[in-house]
């Protein structure tokens, strides 16, 4: 029991429970206490920037699920085999004009055509204060022909313990540009049938594009994941997300802290919207309650799409791992980047959920898949 997490749907509190600080939190404080003061005398800006206190605070949140979702389930969107590809090709050749409101399913995944989807995530990892990641063993099991030979997706993009963010075409193509999955063609037809790029994107997932980038999802990915051309969807706006709309999530699935100002000390200060990323709020001086609150919003579309990839059973708060960031050749200030993020993160606190955060019931007239509503996560740390 360390800190607390609340989940809100509009003005309704759905859930509240304590969280758990992990070893990374203690390591961070020890690091703060022993940073060399001599760095302040160095005139080089990058070196002296190591002392910036924002490098030692919470800077990201991420989401994860059980490892089975990535490599054991035969229902989730991560699953892919020759039979599924063959099925998709056949489907696209014969039924390309139609559209569906759920993932490709018949005979391969759960039957979902507008109905809510119940993902298969197995049993998520137990709370462990020594954890460095949200979940271990999260490499996807999918293997398919990239450049003529079978290649395991995980050999190019190994799992990092959480949901990643490969669906937007700019991210997918950017990451796979020099990999065996760079082809946008399948059997000679550009983006019509599942391409290696589209297949790789679809099995990695996990967060949807934003509304203003609606036409930019790779067509093949859209077909694999949703069973239709994204541009043909008449319910597409229900599966748009916040994170990729505002580019607040990097390819590794870390949602960036978008506000690091001084709440209460700035005249006219207004809290940022949780839709723009991870926000922080807290009191100061005489009104200092010792409580720091982090909040972030998940769009209904984010929930609907990540649900296809096993849902959300883990939440994690992350600080910058200064040592790893420097060892990777980056120098502060570490500007957040979606594709090539110089920030390497260290897990500070985690929260395990016993129920899928994306869980939804059908109510008949408005079936689940297109009916997710936005959720707000409020994560509080009490210092006093």
């Amino acid at each position: 029991m360390r800190g607390e997490v609340e989940i809100w749907q509009g003005d309704s509190l759905l859930y509240t429970e304590p969280n758990m600080l992990v070893d990374g939190a203690g390591e961070l404080l020890a690091e703060i206490m022993t940073v060399s003061p001599s760095l302040s005398a160095v005139e080089d800006h990058a070196t002296s920037s190591i002392l910036d206190s924002s490098n030692y605070t919470i800077q990201a949140i991420s989401f994860g699920t059980g490892s089975d979702a990535f490599n054991k389930s035969t229902r989730n969107a991560q699953y892919l085999n020759a039979g599924k590809i063959e099925y998709l090709v056949d489907k696209f050749e014969t039924l390309a004009a139609g559209y569906r409101t759920g993932p490709v399913t018949t005979g391969i995944q759960n039957e979902v055509d507008g109905s809510s989807y119940i993902p298969d995530a197995g049993l998520p990892e137990w709370p462990n204060p020594t954890s460095r990641v949200l979940e271990h063993n999260t490499s996807v099991a999918a293997t398919f022909a990239g450049s003529g030979v079978d290649v395991a997706v995980s050999s190019v993009f190994p799992g990092n313990g959480q949901h990643v963010n490969f669906l937007p075409s700019s991210i997918g193509s950017g990451m796979m540009e020099a990999s065996v999955f760079s082809s946008t063609e399948y059997d000679g037809s550009t983006q019509y049938y599942p391409s290696s790029l589209g297949l790789a994107q679809s099995v990695l997932g996990a967060f949807p594009i934003g509304s203003s980038t609606g036409g930019d999802m790779d067509r093949a990915t859209s077909r694999v994941m949703l069973g239709e051309d994204f541009t043909q969807r008449d319910v597409g706006n229900k599966t748009y997300g916040f994170f990729n709309e505002v580019s607040s999530m990097d390819v590794s699935g870390f949602v960036n802290m978008v506000m690091s100002g001084s709440p209460g000390t700035t005249t006219g200060y207004a809290m940022s919207s949780g839709a723009s990323g991870l926000c922080v709020s807290g009191g100061i001086d005489a009104t200092n309650s010792g409580t720091v609150e982090y909040s972030v919003m998940l769009a209904g579309g984010d929930l609907a799409t990540v649900n296809l990839y096993g849902g959300i059973y883990h939440l994690g708060l992350w600080t910058i791992d200064m040592k790893e960031s420097l060892l990777n050749g980056n120098t502060p200030p570490f500007a957040f980047s979606v594709l090539n993020n110089p920030r390497k993160y260290k897990l500070f606190a985690r929260k395990g959920l016993s129920k899928n955060l994306c869980y939804i019931n059908d109510d008949g007239a408005t079936p689940g898949f297109d009916n997710h509503t936005d959720l707000t996560i409020k994560w509080r740390l009490h210092f006093l």
Binding site: M1, G26, A30, P37, T57, N288, G290, T291, F383
Partner: protein
């Protein structure tokens, strides 16, 4: 609900050693310490981004010793200053200690108090989440302290965070850890070494 420092399990251990001029050492105290609420206050300034922009201001870089411990009401996590902190003169002019007199944050106000600097090389990360502070009251320091005509013994010590609010004109330190111990009448025959380990 437990607070952050309790949940994180921040704790500390203090060992006090008398080191005589001939090299002999005598352990006179060996016990846990008290992490006071100032630790949470300082860290909350940092995590909300409402305090100093420099991580150095959140470091524990000074300490105080005092002569009036334990405090009235007992040594609890609510205390924010030593009961009888030594003055600049009482630390001793001939000692190697670097003494700074600053406005210390004390219960939503400020109190001008003296504290001794902990050199950076005496702040050591001994494990991934443990830091050891080695505080040295040398032979020339804190000898012959008298108040009201009475000889005074050293019996309390505290660690202070440098300047968490980020005050620009001068540091405003904050008490973050505290401990009382049995009276020690300091003389020039020995140094007092405080080995203080904080586990975060």
């Amino acid at each position: 609900m437990k607070n952050f420092t309790e949940e994180l399990g921040i704790n500390g251990h203090l060992t006090i050693i008398k080191q005589y001029n001939d090299g002999q050492e005598e352990v006179v105290f060996d016990d846990h310490n008290i992490i006071v609420s100032g630790m949470g206050v300082g860290l909350s300034y940092m995590f909300t981004g409402s305090g100093s922009n420099s991580v150095l201001d959140y470091q524990i870089d000074r300490f105080q010793v005092g002569v009036s411990g334990p405090p009235t009401g007992g040594a609890t996590s609510a205390i924010y200053q030593l009961s009888g902190p030594c003055t600049e003169d009482e630390y001793g002019a001939g000692s190697n200690l670097f003494i700074a007199v600053k406005d210390q944050i004390t219960n939503n106000t400020y109190t001008t108090l003296a504290a001794a600097q902990i050199p950076a090389n005496k702040r050591t990360r001994i494990k991934d989440s443990s830091v050891r502070y080695t505080l040295v009251i040398d032979e020339e320091a804190c000898n012959g302290i008298q108040r009201g005509g009475n000889d005074m013994s050293i019996n309390e010590v505290g660690l202070l965070m440098k300047n968490p609010t980020g005050n620009i004109s001068a540091d405003r330190p904050l008490l973050v850890a505290y401990r009382t111990f049995s009276d020690i009448i300091k003389t020039s025959d020995f140094s007092l070494i405080f080995r203080w380990t904080l586990n975060f």
